[in-house]
């Protein structure tokens, strides 16, 4: 009956491979939507800016290394190594891989806040970063 939707078996491995190759590729907007849906509340760019630029009882804020606003090359606070721009409009690689974003949120939130960030905090920060345009 429904012959048109059936995929020839020989194509299945190819399609699977293609899907897996693309598994990490995402857009910043998709990641933002993902964090927003996890948090269950609407993201607020203003809250994200406040979070990003403030210290949280520790030595560094996000801005310490990424700059304010994070549209230019930043600098690692202890090693001095250059950090490429964080705002997606200024660096097309940013927030295109969920695993990579999660890894850096985990590491950097531990350094800045002393704990992991909530999905809401990530959604807010990303919402603010997406407002930064050339």
């Amino acid at each position: 009956m429904n012959m048109t939707t059936r995929i020839p078996p020989i194509l299945l491995p190819l399609l699977l491979a293609a899907a897996m190759a693309g598994a990490h590729a995402a857009t910043p907007a998709e990641l933002a939507a993902n964090y927003a849906s996890q948090s269950g509340t609407a993201p607020a760019a203003a809250r994200g800016e406040q979070f990003f630029t403030s210290r949280h009882g520790r030595e560094w804020s996000c801005s310490t290394c990424h700059g304010t606003p994070p549209t230019n090359t930043g600098k690692h606070a202890s090693t001095g190594k250059a950090i490429s721009a964080l705002a997606p409009a200024f660096n097309a690689d940013r927030f295109t891989d969920l695993a990579k974003s999660e890894k850096w949120f985990r590491r950097n939130c531990n350094d800045v806040v002393g704990r992991e960030c909530s999905a809401g905090e990530k959604a807010d920060v990303l919402a603010w970063l997406l407002t930064l345009k050339k």
């Binding site: 600098k75 202890s78 090693t79 001095g80 190594k81 531990n110 350094d111």
Partner: protein, 155 residues
Amino acid sequence: MRTSVRTTLPLLALLLLAAPFARADGYRSAPTLPKYVQECSSCHIAYPLGALPNASWHRLLGNLPRHFGTDASVDAATLKEITTWVDANTETWKRVGEQPPADRITRSAWFERKHREVEPAAWKRAAIKSPSNCAACHPRAEEGDFNEHRVRIPR
């Protein structure tokens, strides 16, 4: 002119002959494992394995969530891959003796000896900031090239 060619040519030949042995001196030993480069060179250059004894590498890898004041944690599979590679490739430089305090390359006796001509104030310059910022003065540090003839200390 003639004399300079006469002296330069044998020097060049000597350099070419010596090139294959450069590795033994620890130069041109940029780490090759993509995961190591990816995970470790975001915050600092991918330090050459030869710069530390294996025991120091092991302690560092075992404590990445508390890595000199920052969280440098990696997932379990990555940690295993990097550790296996470190064990298979550690070729500690001849000049490296002791396990340095806190496993800091920059606290090694050989490191301090090699940098004794750098004035203390230079390390604090904005373009350098820290002795761990190799590439500030060694432009090809990322490639494992620390040749002193290429050193340029920023003002």
